[in-house]
Assembly symmetry: D2
Homo-oligomer: 346 residues x 4
């Protein structure tokens, strides 16, 4: 494949599809977005135009049957992911799939088995692993800068809740929001979680409660290696997007601060202040979206293992299900209670 | 009592007794330490000499029977507290008692009933409430600066574990260390805890485990008003004494940083660095020890309610017992499971 | 010009030429780099290839005579700037010229008069004005956040000196390094400087002294509006690229911190540390290079005034000459002593 | 003198006299304030009462003739210092004298010669040398943490100007305010200044200008060892007392931040903020006032050299005079132009 740009088809022209299209068009010389499909054809057209994508495909089948396409990005709504993964895998396309793969472990497993059978690359869109801050924390753990990890605290708060319409189909806070933190926890510690205890409540908006979801949650993860981690989630931090992590180890600790639009400090007669942190996930994680696609393109182009595999996507969902069960039953839940049927995946 | 310094007897000339003796001698013009007793008479003599305390008493009875003494500070080992509280109360002395009052709720209740009967003032030594940082957080909550509290995270880590000999009699991490954080949690939120979930392990020193204790713990508090709080404890943070808190509320968040011996930042060819935080609790909490005694002296002198009462001392112990039970039974424990027999206290 | 991308020719394929070529190719949809020339033809070829530039031109004349080209970027060595500006102006091309325009006021004035005559746009490459931090400071001044400015302190230190060969032809620290800070000072305060006092020495490398230059300098600017500013320059700060500014005003102060590759803080048994700041000007000022070209393209496309004009380029050189004179004569020098012959420029 | 507390007489019961009286009474077990005098006898009485000082003396002569007194603190107005120093020296008392010794070099020299003749200890009240932050910077320089110093920047701004009545007799900004920074500069670098260039203006209050003084100043110090330092002074920083220093050296840099009443950070919907820094010099420098008296008491008690001698007091005044001359003549002034007659002092 050397010497030729990786030809990529994009399925889904929504918020994240746009981000990836722009990355492929302007930031990754090694890849080229060549087709895009969306049930909203106008949306696909607009993204195509903005990013010089040659073809607006009729649908995902149109993309999967295009022999010139090497790989597909699945950026459509969650409930279509598993089906599209299978369709793409059968067509022999390498796959980058947004998180979560699905809310049903059965559907995830069927999709991943199809991927395994096809022998294609499969990467899940846990972009935060590629953020420079979290990558720095992971490096500190690997290099032993802080010794053996003991306690971890992840803060992950959104500036504002999504629309209630989204909350109704999102699978709940643990599957649509905490899922990123579940993956982050495993990534940073480099080990598997044994049990989960989840507390939570509706503190931000009663409508979220009526929709059957929580908006405030605190999750405790017990890792097999003994690390105890907490995840602190809120759907609304008025000061903006709050994304931090802190690990205590036997030789020290590492903690990350939020990212800011500038480094200016203003001193007034009232207080010492700075501007609010970057508020939107696209701004906060700009470079991580580029890095994750670069990693995917590299894995495909040079036939290397992907950075975030199907099993990572599955485990994060298992954790989400365990957290929900823990919250409902008010007790710690072992992951194996939820995930007993995990299939053999490469 | 106006115009006359409050005459104070000190029982116990150990580490904390010394701190209080010096405070009374040099920092609180309104009070005067007039007698001190300790089973180690030489220790008492030395503290007396350093601080100009006129009399080294034979024992606590000697102090309690001294009609010139208005109030006593109980700074002896925990297992003597309850007995001494009763002795002092019967003698009509106002009482400042170090934490915890006792490990047994029965003994605590008997002591507090004696206090109630005697009508004397009784303050428990939760000095951290008087720390400027935590006081600032409490003020933010009270003044509504951050709106309605939703999530809280308390970090409380010691620079090094106490001797194993102490750990064997300390009552365990939840009663000797987390107890401060239990009180802090109630103080900052201004509400009562309903249930506790505790996870933990032995990660610092296996000897601590052999002594039947933990050295690393993560406690989740569910408040009646819906706040969810975590307490992150370690007996050993190599970088020093780590004492922080963070609260998310509906209108904002407040977080405190550690205290440092200086504000200097050194930039080298390797990194940007600063000196380690204040390492010893006496240095970190210097002013809080002064402020808590000032508050006690004020309460006695002007017949005002004490800032930290007997019930606060009792509840912190209930929380410690609930945390231990939760850890052992691997489930959240309601405080009422442990504290059902709580007596009526003023 | 609407609907068509601005067609740009690049003269110079060195360090800064590469930066601009990449910006035009991948970051600015409104512009297109269509030709590049360099005396080192291989360098030009490589930049052309990496950035999809269609044509490697023979020389600047080849570019200036290309009727399809709307604007040129002059990224060649300083001593060629003035000549190229005149060549491009005569050809009716809009011009973006790297700083400094020249070291000779006479040559600058002749070049700018040619620009004026041609009626083309002319922007000087003071990219730092477009940095988010300094832009935030400027906004604070304009919006009155800090009231009326009184004192300013600019820190501008390089991580390492340039090669001695460069220093010999650079025009000296005041013209090759401080020149950026001279422009920054004018930009932030929004007023003109009346006099300059410069102190300095050779503290980093005696070879720099032998080459007739300084490596450490402290410059005091007296503005007409009364602001007093200092510029603190060093050719070598071992901890990296140090670029900060601080302004005190009647209602407050604003200060910017450096930019870091990540927001992680590591606590060890030795100290609390973070990684070094971004070390290379291309990393530190990445976005400012994009923004300045966007501003240039906008100015040309929509026929608006440029953000940094020829007069700004001239004044910065006047200030550099005044600083050198001050250093040599050990006295404050009025700008009019140096710049008396300033021509009328639009 | 071992075993006996150093007996101290205080001359002056104003603002700084009160601070020292309290320090001697409550913070320094090795010393005892035994007498105090002030032209305002009621002020002296009150300070005596608050601090348990046995005797209110009639005047300075009364104190100097008291054979039981070992040392005197001169805390009266500046114009009385020199006379009182001579009186105390002749009486054989060790002397701690507030800054400045006098505004006249002639009077300073006569006073210091009397001190020399008497062979008594003489310490000048440059308390900031004892501040933990500046002491940390000095330690970094001495220990070579930052290599050889090259550039220094001192920020020293008051929260509000003193009364105009004080400004009229203060000797001007360079002698009443910058004088602290002149001493700080010499202390931190550990070398002498060769020349001074001072710029400044009236930016805060025109009344200050009418009184013949400046309220905003920028001073450049050229040290003999090549270090170039700037001092940035304002009589009014609305955000509070701003006291910082930053040194660049060949191996790194060190910078100090201001001191704050607490370490709390509040995040709101508007910004991220913290409370203003400590606003009052007594709060900011509390510990330095204790440390400087401890150092004085130690020097006297153990017959060691004082930390800040008469020559330090003299040089700071020379620098103040040179700064004024530089400002008036708009040129750098060599210290020897002003200080040529410096006498031989131990």
């Amino acid at each position: 494949m050397t010497g030729k740009k990786l030809q990529i088809g994009i399925i889904g022209a929504g918020r994240i599809g746009k981000v990836h299209a722009e990355t492929l068009a302007f930031r990754l010389p090694e890849a080229e977005p060549v087709a895009i499909a969306d049930v909203n054809r106008d949306a696909a057209k607009e993204v195509a135009k903005r990013n010089g994508i040659a073809r607006v495909a009729a649908d995902s089948a149109d993309i999967c049957s295009d022999a010139s396409i090497d790989a597909v990005l699945i950026c459509s709504p969650t409930d279509t992911h598993a089906e599209l993964v299978m369709q793409a895998a059968r067509a022999g396309k390498h796959i980058f799939c947004e998180k979560p793969i699905d809310h049903s472990l059965g559907k995830i497993d069927r999709a991943l088995q199809e991927v395994k059978k096809a022998g294609v690359k499969f990467q899940v869109g846990f972009n935060r692993r590629f953020d420079v801050n979290f990558a720095r924390v992971r490096a500190a753990v690997i290099q032993g800068e802080i010794g053996i990890p003991q306690l971890m605290h992840i803060v992950s708060r959104d500036p504002a809740p999504p629309p209630i319409s989204y909350i109704k189909i999102s699978g709940g806070i643990f599957l649509d929001m905490t899922i990123h933190d579940f993956d982050m926890a495993r990534f940073l510690i480099g080990d598997e979680v044994e049990s989960i205890y989840a507390a939570g409540g509706v503190r931000v908006d009663p409508e979220i409660g009526k929709a059957g979801d929580l908006d405030t949650a605190l999750v405790v993860l017990q890792f097999k290696n003994g690390v105890i981690a907490t995840i602190d989630n809120s759907r609304k931090a008025v000061y903006g997007y709050d994304q931090r992590v802190e690990i205590l180890g036997s030789k020290g600790a590492i903690a990350t601060e939020n990212c800011y639009p500038n480094q200016a400090i203003v001193s007034t007669a009232t207080n010492i202040q700075r501007d609010l942190p970057l508020n939107f996930f696209v701004d906060r994680y700009t470079n991580s979206f580029i890095s994750e696609l670069r990693a995917f393109v590299d894995a495909v182009t040079h036939d290397r293992p992907v950075a975030v595999g199907g099993i990572d996507g599955r485990i994060a969902v298992v954790m989400g299900l365990a957290a929900r069960k823990s919250f409902e039953e008010r007790r710690p839940v072992l992951l194996q209670e939820v995930a007993q049927s995990a299939p053999q995946l490469a």
